[in-house]
Symmetry: C2
Subunit: 274 residues, 2 copies
Amino acid sequence: MSAFSEDTAVEPAGEGRWRGELTDRWQTPGGTPNGGYVLSVSARAMAAALPHPHPASITGHYLAPPTAGPVELEVEVVRAGRRHSTATCRLLQDGREVLRSLATFTDLSRADGPTHVAEPPPPLPPRDECKRISGGDYPDAPALLQRFDWATPEEFLGFMRGEKSGRGVNGGWIRFADADETDPLAPVLLADAFAPPVFNLEGVTIGWVPTVELTVHVRKLLRPGWLRGWFRTSFLTNGYLEEDGQIWDDEDDVVALSRQLALAPRPPRPDADT
Amino acid sequence: MSAFSEDTAVEPAGEGRWRGELTDRWQTPGGTPNGGYVLSVSARAMAAALPHPHPASITGHYLAPPTAGPVELEVEVVRAGRRHSTATCRLLQDGREVLRSLATFTDLSRADGPTHVAEPPPPLPPRDECKRISGGDYPDAPALLQRFDWATPEEFLGFMRGEKSGRGVNGGWIRFADADETDPLAPVLLADAFAPPVFNLEGVTIGWVPTVELTVHVRKLLRPGWLRGWFRTSFLTNGYLEEDGQIWDDEDDVVALSRQLALAPRPPRPDADT
């Protein structure tokens, strides 16, 4: 069982209830479990309650910072139809609701209809021209980074050395440390795994980018191996920003589209330590 | 009171409950109330229940076709914080749930933080080079069209005369028939008011495009007068499509971003009349 599947597993805990655990293996540089990871656990509980396995669209609203540890999940089946089914999920820690989600599931293996893709895959250089980071090589890095292998164009890493690209873009090659990961819920995590593209904009502090809402549309079952992520923030207005994501696979197909509403990091206050 | 404000009004009907009415003034060519309009009524009920007036992010999942007539709304306040508050809403007709929504509200007049906009306004020709359609001139048109004045580039109307542009794009100038409309919830309707851009793709039937899920991020309070809408479908895969929208105002500011997951129209079946 892959780390992702293991760490998003839920077990029944009564009518419409599940129990799970946020492990410490998906922590962000800020020290909290990644928001896409937390949403994946909710997706797992909804998948358990619904007749369809794949989230065609899942939205989470973040209510309080999560911490590693047990979670309780309460799922309400809103509608169960032939082609789609809809549910909501409350994810709680110590009785406090951390995440409310709403999703419509389907069976993507039975999706049927026209295909017309107008956008090319992300304009990434080949992997061997990118900065390669094998998460396992950096045992002191935030846990989330260790769960993946990365191949990232140097441009997008500029913010880490104080050389911002000036473009609200981040992207790169990504592969689960479990390289054969095919869990169909994994795109929900991938949609939130990259560093926020807003970090590459001048005048934006590097710091916590609180997600207000994250929506992921899963379009295709996951294939093992390398994927490509492409994330853009085009509209930062009065501290609010969207982050639009694409995940592509090695067949040049889009696996998932995502959008989140988030808040720009707050500049450190001069009196923060008083 | 504007038609939009009047037709989205709700009145209290007990603890966490509201009553409203879907009028026949926002019907689509298919004869049902527009999905953005129905979501606006839910937004109105949530705004009534929450301490913040503006939907920073609102998501609706469409469960059954709406009809003109009375609706009941059940709102649950999920969290009420200082800067944001979150609610869900069930919208029912004759006891059947039509729309489930989840939203986080804020007070946009107090939004505070950096601004950095990377995308230019939509590349639209001036209004006097567009096809002008004053909804009021076409009393037999679907009601939704009559509620607006439109100025649309001929390119985007090609699908109506069997000359598809081949691009999954639609856009144009739009103004409420109540030209001074400033209801802050109106962008929720505007995000779904344009003809689906997928109509301009070859091989796609012109027909009902069922919305699975619609999310709108409102960024700015509405100003009276002309707005610009820009809608794109870049990924139609196995019958699923996203429709990404932007609404801009006459100060060249983005008022709202939207994305919906929808289904491509089904081709008419040869045996449909048997």
